[in-house]
Subunit: 246 residues, 2 copies
DNA sequence: TAAAAAAATTGTTGTAAAACAATGTTTTCA
DNA sequence: TGAAAACATTGTTTTACAACAATTTTTTTA
């Protein structure tokens, strides 16, 4: 880690890319108020919370599968992909992270290592909090506990859903499902695809080539509009039917 | 529900198969002492615990996906399969339950419905405890909390592992993996397959026909010994290699 | 205990999707 | 700014596996 006077940030010496912005003096000034902040305030623990902001550029790794979890990472801006290492350097994207979203909470549930990788799809701002403090909060605060438990449980449910669909659906249904998922995530039927075609394939557990193929099929059929990274779902109901039909 | 004098048990009127054995007067007499019992004893809550024993015959449903969770079900003897409903009446078996194993704990984590089905592979004895009491214990007892969190976290990890393998491995690797999984479960390289060939297929996300095929291939190759339901892994390392190679 | 149903086995066929290939396009960065 | 790398697209080939079919064996149950 070395200090760069010009940019007024810390650069990690490993990649010289991951930037460590000076620690918050005060969360009150933060534009992205998070649940951990609200909870610490409620519990009178602000002084213990020493959050650190980190910025990641596109393609940079935010956390690596199997590495020890030291911090709860809150994605406060940007997009990131969450994926597991498959065989033969193939990846399966479990989902896309949008703010606000915590990474690393499994440590609280007894898994001290990250169960998946997260890498930035766009510039990402994160706020990182020592995991031990979050653990302490978890055990002391029922509402916080409930919140984390619920989010953890949702993760389990979504992975189980993915297990079924990736195993039993064919490529058109898989891509349709991914598109609907992305629209839900962006809360709009029109959105910018932060994923490459290959990554859209990884999200759908198909090859990049087939992702392209299905995308242009859907375009020809008038189900979607695609121009580069811009996607618009024109006939969502039909896509939903394709997804459901398998 | 009606009472059957001959068998001295309750039979549910829906199926007339599910048997409700009289409630325990005292867990002390139970041959299968479980964690919930130990924890209630520790917490001085024995009087609140009113466990009910239920017996299920082979093929009977112990719990149904999406149904409301009313009890924590402890499988105290027998084998059961845990599976999700896929498309077109296809099932994916997530794993096999062996004693002692709790079903329905996701309710504590904010998912009030069963996320999967469980049906008996053999005669199964279960002990069922009101879920609200377990919730109460969870919130009051740190050690108990830790234990359940860890088990929940393990479930997540195993499903993620399955996600990768079922997506990227081919049938021989899938079956090899299933066989190793079963051996681990039975804590022996020689075990009785409680699953049918079709179910072994569902565990491996392949057809029953291919499960048979691979099994006889492995037999011919001297990797395993199979006689009906009796399976013995002769060359576990080779099977592991096949599984890892994908 | 006989008849019926379910499970196991083996061979054959059809097909969806991966793999490969070739080419054009965009992005990266030295 | 220009070369190299990464990405996108489309067509062709290969292949692993599901689907189907037919027969044998085992299990269930009336």
């Amino acid at each position: 880690m070395f200090y760069n006077n010009f940019f007024n940030v810390y650069l990690s010496d490993a990649t010289a890319k991951m930037r460590l912005i000076e620690p918050h003096k005060n969360c009150k000034q933060c534009q992205w108020k998070c649940d951990i902040y609200f909870t610490t305030r409620e519990m009178g623990m602000q002084h213990e919370l020493k959050p650190v902001q980190m910025v990641y550029k596109k393609h940079e790794t935010i956390c690596r599968q199997d590495a020890a979890i030291t911090h709860a990472i809150n994605l406060v801006s940007g997009n990131a992909k969450m994926f597991v290492n498959g065989l033969f350097d193939k990846q399966i994207i479990l989902g896309i992270l949008m703010p606000a979203n915590y990474i690393g909470l499994t440590a609280i549930f007894g898994s001290p290592n990250y169960p998946y990788n997260v890498t930035a799809l766009t510039h990402c701002h994160t706020c990182q909090v020592d995991i031990d403090i979050v653990k302490k909060m978890y055990h002391a605060n029922h509402d916080f506990q409930q919140m984390l438990n619920q989010s953890f449980s949702k993760t389990l449910a979504s992975i189980m859903k993915k297990l079924v669909s990736l195993n039993q659906k064919q490529i058109r249904a898989k891509v349709a499902e991914s598109l609907i998922y992305l629209a839900q995530l962006h809360e709009s039927d029109q959105f910018m695809l932060t994923l490459s075609r290959k990554e859209l394939g990884e999200l759908s557990a198909i090859t990049g080539e087939n992702a392209v193929r299905v995308l242009s099929e859907f375009k020809k059929e008038g189900l979607i509009r695609v121009e580069g990274k811009e996607v618009c779902l024109l006939q969502k109901e039909v896509l939903q039917k394709i997804s459901d039909a398998g």
